[in-house]
Subunit: 190 residues, 2 copies
Amino acid sequence: MSSTTKESGSRNRTRRAILDAAITLLATRPQASLAEVAEAAEVGRSTLHRYFPERTDLLSAVVEDSLAQLTVAVTTAELHRGTPAEALRRITHAYFELSPVLLVLFGEHLIDTRKDLIGDLDEVDAPVFELLERGQREGFFDNGVSAEWLNRVLWAVVYTGIAACAEGAMTRHAALESISRTLERGTRAE
Amino acid sequence: MSSTTKESGSRNRTRRAILDAAITLLATRPQASLAEVAEAAEVGRSTLHRYFPERTDLLSAVVEDSLAQLTVAVTTAELHRGTPAEALRRITHAYFELSPVLLVLFGEHLIDTRKDLIGDLDEVDAPVFELLERGQREGFFDNGVSAEWLNRVLWAVVYTGIAACAEGAMTRHAALESISRTLERGTRAE
DNA sequence: GCACTTTGGGACATCGATGTCCCACAACGA
DNA sequence: TCGTTGTGGGACATCGATGTCCCAAAGTGC
């Protein structure tokens, strides 16, 4: 509930630099060493250890920060507004823009570190879940599968687009278009 | 092109046991140690090293074996027969049954070891690609996205179902049903 | 039963990642 | 300017994973 409070200002900046670098790096290479993270953050290895004494401390902070960013995105999307189709498009877009965060959260390494944060993830995308259920009730989304399944598919398809971009197989625009199209068709009711 | 040829018979059995255990284990824990692999295969660590001197040797063999299994599955599915919808259902089913193999191939750790095997993967599911293109030509599958995209979505959705099963969130039957349903709707033309 | 093959496990060296400590130096604020 | 705060890098100990070697024991086929 508080991370950018207190502290000297320069401490906050350093902390953010480390976190940003870690998220970017761990998104593509979850097994990256702390030395690599420090280098990516343009920070000494001892400084990194000063902020995050152990590797798990860094991992936890990365996941927490990712969840925080995700929360902001979900909240901003105001999924209760407009038609389910429109809201789906908004959240899809929002997820896509959070590429590194998605990658970090989707990668399974968080399982190794903090089991308790998995529950937080469910909490964070509760609004998405509600959107999916609302869409099902209103006849927009497929009722033949569970809302949980739709949620999983949402994540998977967005992830696929991000991965395709990362490989250079598609442009961001093309990926976003394909994601939206496939999701709309795959999730809507007859 | 040859792996179960020659050799003493007991060597083949041991090799298979190691490979099977490795695929199963690495599917869920790509970073598992060689000691764990040996234990899972009920084999001494020195025996493991005798068959696969280095870790990369084991990883390569695992990927090669996975590709071989995938090849058999794709060939057996005879994707050129029947309607695209039927063929899609067959390959979906086949992929799903190969859960651990899919997990191993989908996990990115293969990228670290043998870049050259990625091309082999494209080669292996070339028939799937052809199916998707055929379906597009015949008006069964969505023409608004690329066949490559459809292929990625196919993998992603099957993977999602497998993951859901692994977490105990769904039964295998429910997962397979959801996968098929979502894929059919998500990929077909208007 | 005998010779050959295969196996299991211990002992050992090595390597990279991690974590700790310390100290000189730079940055910053009153 | 001076004291406080933050930083970078080196030295070091530790740990787990990896890889090598060897030998006694179990398994296999003739």
